[in-house]
Point group: none
């Protein structure tokens, strides 16, 4: 269920060698995503792992740092994508490719993005809040043409939101996850395309 698989080849209890840090991150992310950041207590995380709270403090300085560490690991791809995007010409093809790759990133770390979406208030005063905003801002600067009409700027931004929405608000639609992801991507691509073309048509 978790973002990163923890190889537990043998069912023995003695698998906890050097991987405790990872296990904490995995369990924490699952709980954060399910119940929210504030509602998830360190006691809960510790009990889920069958270690003491103090053990968490051996690996992380604070509760926030657990989140930060997960976040940093899992949002690195956004940075990479932005970096790549900046070096490309601002063509339609680039934008479409960004949208496509972003869709993959989202799918690859769904619990984290779900968490970020559903805990904006809690996350706002945490360091990750700012960082996330910055990373998203980076993406925006590539996708949104500052010379475009307001409507088209919004169309571009909305393309990204559509991807986000697609991850969580569409679960009841009647299709396989993969079909849905494809369809969402198509809609988002479409929006970014329309925005681009209308701008160039001016």
């Amino acid at each position: 269920m978790s973002a990163r698989m923890v190889g537990t080849m043998d069912g023995t209890k003695q698998q906890r060698r050097g991987n405790t840090r990872q296990r904490i991150q995995d369990v924490a992310l699952d709980l954060f995503a399910q119940q929210g950041y504030e509602k998830t207590s360190l006691r809960e995380i510790a009990e889920s792992l069958d270690v003491t709270k103090a053990a968490l403090y051996y690996h992380f300085k604070t509760k926030e740092e657990i989140l930060v560490s997960i976040f940093d690991d899992l949002t690195q791809p956004i940075l990479d994508l932005t970096e790549w995007g900046k070096q490309q010409p601002h063509t339609l093809e680039t934008k479409q490719e960004i949208v496509r790759r972003y869709s993959e990133i989202l799918a690859g770390a769904a619990p984290l993005f779900r968490f970020m979406q559903e805990n904006q208030a809690a996350v706002r005063e945490l360091r990750v809040g700012e960082t996330f905003k910055d990373r998203m801002q980076g993406l925006r600067e590539i996708i949104v043409d500052p010379d475009a009409a307001l409507v088209d700027q919004i169309r571009s931004v909305s393309a990204i939101f559509t991807l986000h929405a697609g991850m969580f608000f569409i679960q009841d639609l009647d299709a396989t996850p993969e079909e849905k992801r494809k369809a969402v991507l198509e809609v988002a691509t479409d929006m970014v395309t329309q925005a681009h073309q209308r701008t160039k048509a001016t």
Copy 2:
């Protein structure tokens, strides 16, 4: 900043007539929206109003009930809109009108909707969580055509999501709030229109 203004014409402290209940709701909504539901304590609300915590309990049975009361008051318009929508033919014009009116409802109770958006995790296990889901579901059933292609269903849902996102994620764009609202509405209308027309074209 609050949804409903509490006229305090005179600065005197002795204005505590019958309006305390309202004042609690107003202050609570502001704080919930700013800091999140969990992070906002009853102590904080009470201190903001210069009353004791016990006074809050005279007016509301629990913390949750404060939220519920605000929510019930402020989301009634969605119910009304859905009711109206159900009685209309499922034409393009109806859908556009729904989008337009929904945009107005959103603008009219912005702090609440911002709160709901940013506190989904916290709200999920509260009664308002379910209720909100239900109310949104009602809207969806009018706007989304079950016979439409998957992409077009997504386009419709995304239109609504765009309206929501538009309220909070677009603040840095360079335009007045009213211009932005108009533009967001235009994009959303456009999406719903495309979804409708593509479906009918089949």
Copy 3:
């Protein structure tokens, strides 16, 4: 169910003329007996009667005073009995008569005595605690012969305790309440008789 019946001949809501004080006492005693003194809140009493807490304060100065008023009304018979007993010769017949009459008093105000028995800790630091002790002490002085052997003194005290216990700890025995009361009375009388006779035999 309550100690004193409140004539509610008509089912109308308007029966609350001058009897509110009484109704408070009745409801309070029932709740005190069921849940204990500490666990019964004035809110609960008020809600049971469909009046406000403040109304209770119109009739009684404090929570304790509600209990005191009930207690004073209902334990008067013990005082009367003691008064009567003092004027009698300390014969066996007198003691037996005391036991018999006390059994009736107990049966006539069962909820109060149950309450006193089950809430000794709570009642100890209330005025009624002291008062009750005093009243029981009065009875004891008549029934217990100071010249009797220790065992026989205990036998006498235990007779009274048997009456008390008989009211509540014997509910599962297979007999009608009236049969049980009679049987308990017989045992108690027997104990007091044995105590008396052994003493006189010396």
Copy 4:
């Protein structure tokens, strides 16, 4: 005064090794017995021990659990006695032995039994309430002959109550505690004997 002594040979404050749990139980029982369960707050217990309230929660999950733990430790002997009694023939000698041993158990955990007696109302809705009832029921089944006349059944039950009463309602009689315990035991034994013989005489 407490049931179990906590050896604090040195008066130093730094004795907090592994005995905190025990100290909590001891202090709690003393306070519960003195003031009642409801009236005794965790703050009070904590302050008596010079630790914080949170420390109590490290050792016990709830206030009730403190009581349960004390209760379980201290009423185990009743279970043992019942177990023993079940394996014996239901002779007079067995019943007398049961009464004798029960008297010792009572004396050995006087504060707890005093507490149970004086806090029946409070204890009724706690787990210990049910458990205690069950344990007493076990004893009763051995001592009370179901074929005996109602009076004799009551006589047997009353024997047990006499033991209880003996612990608390006889403090003002003029004799040493040990003398009193002996005398109470004699009375109780007598009652059980009479009940037994009358039944067999039939």
